[in-house]
């Protein structure tokens, strides 16, 4: 698979990941690795946050959309 963003810029590069939201192939330069906090438990016990976060690979468009709320 090729990087969609690079293709738009007229470049040809191999994708190393896929955006989990829209599915586009992304090279290392265009992929955004988001770290998602994991909370466990809840009522009637306080929630606990996991030490490790869950990585989420996104393209810039999906990342911006998530961040805009």
């Amino acid at each position: 698979m090729k990087c969609y963003m690079c293709a738009l810029e007229g470049k040809d590069s191999e994708a190393v990941s896929i955006c989990i939201a829209c599915g586009m192939g992304l090279c290392m330069d265009h992929v955004i690795r988001d770290e998602v906090e994991i909370w466990e438990g809840g009522y009637p016990l306080p929630s606990k946050k996991h030490e490790k976060t869950l990585p989420k690979m996104l393209c810039k468009w999906c990342y911006d959309a998530y961040r805009s709320g």
Partner: protein, 258 residues
């Protein structure tokens, strides 16, 4: 996990609202029926105008408050807002022992603030007519009967907490509704027996408010609302753990899958 200081504050705020809104509903009911002709000594004013509907209204004020608080702070502190629940969770090793006292202190402070602020917004009639919604056994109900009914009511509450909140096999997201309904149902039925505290903090707040603001001193009844709820909650937690656990296979028995 969120710090103990912040969870302390969450428990304090939660118990504050429980007493302000729940016990406050009992105060308002007594103030509305003040002066009404009471048919018998078993009727102190709650039920004078609406029969059991008065108790349903008070039960719903408590139950709806519990429901929304569970969704608001359940993930922060666990929303115990009840020392009996905290002790029952600790007794079944689900809650750390070193956090039991801070949680109970927060609940008692929140409940006391709830009573004082209710008196502040309503005036002294909340104390002299409404007794700040303090609980006491009704006419003809003995000390032992009151303990027993508080035990049964809190048993049901804790049983539902275990089944809908603790048990991860439960349908997710419905603990708040289930527990709120339970509180409303229990209060509707046993309200006119023991006052339906099912929570030592809920009784502590109005008792403290009455003591300081010149209301009736009911502290001789306080053991009812400590013994009954705590014993009931611990029994429910232990029994639920037992009936919901899977049977262990005898040692050495081997299961072969076909």
């Amino acid at each position: 996990m969120i710090s103990l200081k912040k969870r302390f504050l969450a428990e304090l705020i939660g118990t504050f609202f429980l007493v302000f809104i729940g016990a406050g509903a009992a105060v308002i009911t007594l103030m509305i029926s003040n002066g009404a002709v009471l048919p018998n000594l078993f009727n102190i004013g709650i039920g004078a105008l609406g029969g059991l509907g008065d108790w349903l209204a008070i039960g719903l004020a408590f139950g709806l408050t519990v429901t929304v608080l569970i969704y608001a702070i359940g993930h922060i502190s666990g929303c115990h807002i009840n020392p009996a629940v905290t002790i029952a969770l600790w007794s079944t090793k689900k809650f750390p022992g070193n956090e039991v006292i801070p949680y109970i202190v927060a609940q008692l402070i929140g409940a006391t603030l709830g009573s004082f602020l209710f008196a502040a917004v309503v005036g002294m009639n909340a104390v002299t007519v409404g007794g700040l919604g303090a609980t006491a056994p009704f006419e003809g109900i003995s000390y032992f009967q009151a303990i027993l009914v508080e035990l049964i009511g809190t048993f049901m509450l804790m049983f539902v907490i275990m089944g809908s909140g603790i048990d991860r096999r439960a349908f997710p997201g419905f603990a708040g509704l289930s527990i709120g309904f339970t509180v409303a149902a229990v209060i509707t039925t046993i309200g006119n027996i023991s006052g339906a505290s099912i929570n030592p903090a809920r009784t502590f707040g109005p008792y403290m408010g009455d003591l300081v603001l010149g209301g009736t001193n009911l502290w001789n009844y306080f053991p009812i609302y400590v013994i009954g709820p705590i014993v009931g909650a611990v029994l429910a937690a232990v029994i639920y753990d037992y009936i919901s656990s899977e049977e262990k296979l005898p040692e050495g028995r081997v299961i072969r899958e076909k």
